[in-house]
């Protein structure tokens, strides 16, 4: 029988599924190239997030339709990749100077979003038995989690590596260029993944201990009575 505090925690965790828990980058290891290489600048991370949201929602919608038509994995992966690349080509042409510049900073990593594993995962996981809005909401939660993760990591790396935030110089004395290297990205993502696991385990252990203490207290009172 599951303890009540632990049950409540699991219920809470389930409500934020894909957003704070079972996150695409940390839990499933999706979109690793973008989490490692695209987080050297907060503006680049923002451009990545916008691109990822656009292609993921579009691909989820198209994937849902194709699955309802009975099409197999090969078909919807092909359609997803092609549609995503066309969407990204369109996004790169947006007449917004503040968007085009970070897209340019990303180099090959912006067009590479067309074949990213997060979008394929969302399309594969899309359930044709559920409604389209429900599937889109699930996809949006996962991409928001990705966006939150890359923005947080990029702010940290940009601050330490360049002494700036969103291109605005904040710390002139601090510039550790090795923070911007790929190896730091790998190590940071690995450490964050382990840290999140530890937080989850600690909370579950605390819930279990508290529930057992309460059960023991209740039993003691029963015996006394």
């Amino acid at each position: 029988m599951q303890s009540s505090r632990l049950k409540r925690y699991r219920h809470l965790v389930g409500r934020f599924d894909g957003l704070l828990t079972r996150t695409p980058v940390i839990t499933y290891g999706l979109a690793i190239p973008f989490a490692v290489m695209g987080t050297v600048d907060a503006r680049a991370a923002f451009a990545l997030s916008v691109g990822m949201m656009a292609i993921s929602l579009l691909s989820t919608a198209v994937g849902w339709v194709l699955k309802r038509m009975g099409q197999g994995r090969e078909v919807y992966m092909l359609v997803t990749a092609v549609l995503s690349s066309l969407t990204l080509a369109g996004l790169s042409r947006l007449p917004l100077g503040g968007f085009q510049m970070p897209v340019g900073m990303l180099g090959i990593y912006f067009p590479l979003l067309a074949v990213n594993t997060l979008t394929f995962f969302l399309v594969t996981r899309c359930d044709e038995q559920k409604s389209l809005p429900a599937n889109l909401a699930q996809a949006a939660r996962s991409v928001l989690s990705f966006a939150f993760f890359v923005m947080a990591v990029s702010l940290f790396r940009e601050l330490l590596g360049k002494g700036s935030i969103f291109g605005v110089k904040v710390l002139s004395s601090l510039q550790i260029s090795t923070v911007l290297m790929p190896f730091f990205g790998f190590i940071l993502v690995g450490m964050l993944s382990a840290f999140c696991r530890q937080v989850n385990r600690s909370i579950r252990a605390w819930c279990l201990i508290k529930d057992r203490e309460e059960a023991m207290d209740a039993k003691t009172e029963e015996v006394k009575a």
């Binding site: 066309l86 990204l88 790169s92 180099g107 090959i108 067009p111 696991r197």
Partner: protein, 197 residues
Amino acid sequence: MAGFVKLLMIAFTAAMVENAIFSRALVTRKMLFLKNREEILTFSAVITLMTVISGVICYAADSLLLYPRGVSIYIRSALYVLIMAAVHTAMIVAASRKVGEWYARAKNVLLMAGYNVAVLGTILLCSFNRYNLWERLFYFVGTGVGVTLALVLLDVANQNIAMSRVPRIFRGLPILLLYIGILSLAFYGLIGHPITF
């Protein structure tokens, strides 16, 4: 002779100095956890073949159509994905008809290798750098060799990690990412300077 040495250096750069996995992070989770050496070699061979065939067709498209019209890299990449999709579909159809038994075993690996960041990333890099046909061929083969070596290294790492006492929170993906990070640091030491995107 000098030209051939230059081509060999391009292949070496692609394999070692600008390794697709350690220097450019062109890796997916499934690539990190391939089951055995046979799967690694199958995957690497398919990746290399996909990159070479798609890359040659993309070069033809670049030279005849895209460079003369000054088409931007983002629109070019859309065409590259279409070419990759066509090549991948042709490979699957050919494999399922000619070597059906092998195809049934290797279907997942084939699908994973098709729409892969390593394939598209390599083609985009050559397009960015405006390599000619021979330079691209040597770069593609070099990338394939580099990916193979990296995956074999990671397979050995996985086996060693499985036999070590790793703290529970680090088991699986976290420890492997840390391992790749340390190897990436070694490769950065080899280059000595940051590589451009």
